[in-house]
């Protein structure tokens, strides 16, 4: 990763990711509506919503709130830029963690009881998915040892592969899909902040956010969607244009699966989310680590 490739990736991700993420959100709403027997909004509806939020009077509970949310966006963009520039996977994960922390602090700082509950739940969500995320990077390294001759954490290395990573890491991929539901804020794991008004305790972590602050929260979600789909693509792509096509098709299918899950399961309690994520992580990673040792 040179400085130039990073700058290109940064600009491209900063500009393109919200466009793609917004369209995905729009498509999500249409598919969701169809699953529920409705017609649904136009595909560009998320952009109209954000535009309206941006036009609203900007009010906050105190001056730090907007600052924290803004920092959260900056670091999300930075994480995405490092990922799509082919940088170090752990670097991406850790910067993203910082972004999440600032979002949590933004909610806590309002001292609203509802926002605080949302923030607590967000922390529990982090605790549920973080082991899988770290172990995904770890097994990425382990799998590149037999596939490339030497281990690496640089995600750009997937383009040097002659087969997709999923061949070596099928169980880790399943584990990723499981926690992806948490990361994409989909039911049944949308504990801290949901798009489904009927399951929400006021508005969870974003209770005290309005106007421009809420617009930024929405945009952060678009950035994250693109970044997490990038993680899915990482497992499917290899060094050929067919690989890129396969990855894009795979990402679309995975997202449709998430929408399907979102609409068919009711929100669970945190105990179930935490226990199931940890068990799935442990089982999937352990089996896959053995698999790499034995077969490759």
């Amino acid at each position: 990763m040179t400085i130039i490739s990073f700058v290109v990736a940064f600009v491209a991700f900063a500009v393109l990711a919200p466009l793609i993420g917004g369209v995905i959100a729009g498509a999500d709403r249409i598919v969701t509506a169809r699953l529920q027997g409705r017609v649904g909004p136009p595909i560009l509806q998320p952009f109209y919503d954000v535009k309206k939020l941006l036009a609203k009077d900007d009010s906050v509970t105190h001056s730090f709130q907007g600052f924290y949310v803004f920092l959260s966006m900056v670091f999300t963009v930075l994480a995405g830029a490092f990922f799509f520039a082919g940088g170090n996977f752990l670097l991406v994960i850790f910067i993203l963690m910082l972004a999440t922390l600032f979002f949590i602090i933004a909610a806590y700082s309002t001292r609203s009881p509802f926002a605080e509950i949302g923030a607590e739940r967000e922390i529990i969500q982090v605790m549920a998915y973080e082991p899988m995320v770290i172990l995904m990077a770890v097994t990425f390294y382990m799998a590149t040892i037999p596939m490339l001759g030497e281990g690496t954490f640089n995600v750009g290395a997937v383009f040097a592969l002659d087969r997709p990573l999923i061949v070596a890491l099928p169980f880790v991929f399943i584990g990723l899909l499981f926690i992806l539901t948490i990361k994409l804020r989909k039911s049944p794991f949308d504990l801290s902040y949901s798009h489904h008004a009927h399951t929400e305790l006021v508005k969870g972590i974003s209770t005290e956010m309005t106007g421009r602050t809420l617009a930024i929260v929405e945009i952060i979600h678009w950035y994250e969607t693109v970044l997490f789909l990038g993680w899915v693509g990482l497992f499917l792509v290899w060094g050929s244009w067919i690989g890129v096509v396969v990855a894009i098709v795979g990402m679309i299918l995975v997202y449709l699966l998430e929408v399907f899950i979102d609409n068919n399961f009711a929100r669970v309690k945190w105990q179930f989310m935490l226990a199931s994520s940890w068990i799935v992580t442990l089982v999937c990673v352990a089996i896959n680590m053995v698999l790499i040792q034995v077969i490759f």
């Binding site: 001056s63 920092l71 982090v126």
Partner: protein, 647 residues
């Protein structure tokens, strides 16, 4: 080289000793202030002088062999033994007394029967790691002593309110603190293990006295728990000395160079065991938790720059002898389990000092695990974990101590809204917390390096322990940080009462935290990597755990985060609105509102402590079982290896 190394070492040993002596004599407040501040600064300067000469230089080693020294040290050992025995008899503690007798018998037998026949080429040494340790001890340790001036004044006032006739025991307190520093310096420069043992015992007995300082029943009981556990370690140390003496080696560098095999396996395991007791690893964590009854400067000193750091220093020193052998596996598993379980227990603790204590034990576990892995990459991570833990923990303890004196509680729930009441202190505490668990700050970068070193050695079990441990770590820090940074209302700023000596040390620690996080790539490049490569076992041509570019990126982010806080802390231009409270708000600071029945209702929200999942009661037996099993296996197998039996 500006000074003869032997003079520098002598200076570092004698300065705090002299200060301790003076503090016993000078009993007035003004005089004590002068002595503590002047000697504190002198010790800091002396360590900087040492660093200027040897931080990036080659290893120095030398002999300083006079039989009289050995007899003096033996006398010190015996005095310590008699002191502990006396205290045990006074408080009717049989076990502590018995252990003191056993230890005394062992060390006397060793000095008269074995030691005279062993030739020692180098008694003392200075290398990169001992200079880093000296900086930690000298700068942080003396800083805490200076902080204690203000803190102990208030502590004394509080004590006097309760009991007007209580005796002012501050001279003893400060003398012990400085004596502690002397002993720590001796540990990091001693190549002769018999010498190190003497210093080792001084740290044990100093912390015994410091923990029992308040003389309440709880304090005395906890101080005896400390002494019993550390005596077990001390006894292991004595047995190791005897076994090593019988083989004719008592020099640390020679032992490490020979590795963990054959006849040296058991003594190395015993030395590591001594390190583990001192570093409060499971199942010995309870002494460090009990140590919380002592005044905060004691906790800060024990947790950041002394005592537990002596334990991990020992284990890091022995690291070249670890790796994929019985000892190495035992050590890495103890560290790994300790990290996971103690991080999890920290979630269930509402008491800020206990959270800090569990996090100390957990992070030391990570250091011990890294040392157990025994590759240069892992030791690189261990050294950085040690440095950042020392600085960030002392910052946190000092902040919590100051907060406690001003808000009257060490409960995290009571720190709600501290940002409004004590803005500067809350921000500095937040800085300490960030440093402990999140990128781009030091501890997380070190954890990143740990992951790299584990994956390079294909250590699946430890990787899984680390991944889960990191996730629970996020939980307990993030929720504390959230409470701390909450903003509501315009309560009075109570910060103005904080003593100047407290501010100066807290400020110094904060500067160190930021400076070290920013300077991380350079410290790695110029100090830690050269030190590691100078070890004969690890002499390879290059060592890059995390690429310099990535370290630089993190350093830049540190600057960005800190600057944005500094710049932003002033501007307020947005329209502010009250929070939503399911009714008509009455008092937003107290979170009261008129509900639908027109009744004034208060909304309250406590953090989650998840005691059903992570309580001390349920986790501790599990953690103890795991670690005791591992230690037993480690000791048995390394004993068997004396007769050539191995896995």
């Amino acid at each position: 080289m500006f000074f003869e190394p032997i003079i520098l070492i002598g200076l570092l040993l004698l300065l705090p000793l002299l200060a301790a002596g003076l503090l016993l004599v000078v009993r007035g407040n003004g005089g004590r202030k002068v002595v503590v501040i002047s000697f504190g600064i002198l010790i800091m300067l002396a360590t900087v002088l040492l660093a200027a000469g040897y931080l990036v230089g080659d290893r120095w080693q030398g002999s300083f062999h006079y039989p009289i020294i050995n007899y003096c040290l033996l006398a010190v050992d015996v005095i310590i033994g008699v002191y502990v025995l006396g205290k045990s008899i006074k408080h009717k503690k049989v076990l502590a007394g018995a252990l003191a007798v056993a230890q005394m018998a062992g060390i006397i037998a060793f000095e008269f029967l074995i030691a005279p026949s062993v030739n020692i080429a180098n008694d003392l040494y200075i290398d990169g790691l001992s200079v880093i340790m000296a900086l930690v001890i000298g700068i942080i340790g003396s800083g805490i002593c200076i902080y204690a001036l203000g803190y102990m004044k208030e502590h004394e006032c509080h004590a006097r309110e309760k009991d007007p006739n209580c005796k002012d025991r501050r001279p003893t307190f400060f003398a012990l603190m400085f004596l502690f520093l002397t002993a720590m310096f001796a540990i990091v420069f001693a190549n002769n293990l018999a010498w190190m043992f003497c210093a080792w015992e001084i740290t044990t007995v100093c912390s015994f006295a410091l923990i029992g300082y308040t003389r309440t029943d709880e304090a005395i009981n906890n101080s005896f728990r400390q002494i019993v556990m550390n005596q077990l370690g001390g006894l292991a140390f004595v047995i190791a000395l005897i076994l090593l003496g019988l083989q004719g080696v008592l020099e640390l560098d020679v032992i490490i160079a020979h590795g963990s095999l054959g006849l040296l396996g058991l003594p190395i395991m015993l030395l590591a065991f001594a390190g583990i007791t001192k570093a409060a690893q499971v199942p010995f964590q309870s002494w460090l938790l009990g140590a919380m009854v002592a005044p905060t400067p004691t906790s800060a000193l024990l947790h950041s720059s002394t005592m537990v750091k002596a334990g991990v220093f020992m284990v890091i020193k022995l690291a070249p002898a670890f790796g994929w052998n019985v000892n190495g596996i035992a050590i890495m598993l103890i560290g790994g389990f300790t990290f996971l379980f103690c991080s999890a227990i920290a979630i269930s603790q509402p008491n800020a000092k206990r959270v800090l204590a569990y996090s100390t034990v957990a992070n030391l576990g990570l250091i011990v695990a890294c040392a157990g892995v025994g590759t240069p990459e892992a030791v690189w991570a261990a050294i950085f974990l040690l440095i950042f833990h020392a600085v960030a923990k002392s910052l946190l303890f000092l902040c919590v101590g100051t907060a406690e004196h001003n808000i009257g509680s060490r409960d995290i729930e009571e720190m709600d809204n501290l940002f409004v009441r004590m803005p500067k202190l809350a921000l500095l505490m937040a800085l300490g917390i960030l440093t402990m668990f999140i990128a781009p700050f030091g501890m997380l970068i070190s954890k990143w390096a740990t992951i790299v070193s584990l994956v390079e050695t294909n250590n699946a079990v430890l990787l899984i322990l680390l991944a889960f441990g990191s996730a629970v770590t996020f939980m307990f820090w993030a929720k504390w940080l959230g409470k701390l940074l909450a903003v509501a209302g315009n309560q009075t700023n109570v910060e103005t009462k904080v003593n100047g000596s407290e501010w100066s040390t807290i400020g110094l620690m904060a500067l160190l935290v930021v400076g070290l996080s920013v300077g991380f790539p350079f410290i790695s490049q110029w100090v830690v990597v050269p030190y590691l490569l100078s070890n004969p076992q690890w002499a390879s041509t290059s060592l890059e755990v995390i690429s310099f570019d990535n370290l630089l990126i993190m350093a830049i982010i540190v600057v960005a985060v800190v600057l944005s806080f500094l710049i932003f802390a002033r501007s307020t231009k947005n329209r502010t609105a009250p929070i939503y409270l399911s009714g008509v708000g009455v008092d937003f600071e107290k979170r009261t509102y008129l509900s639908s029945l027109s009744v004034e209702t208060q909304a309250s929200q406590r953090n989650w402590y998840m005691s059903g999942w992570f309580s001390e009661e349920s986790m501790t037996p599990l953690a103890n079982t795991c670690c005791i099993t591992v230690i037993t296996f480690g000791l048995v197998l390394s004993t068997l290896s004396i007769w050539g039996w191995s896995l």
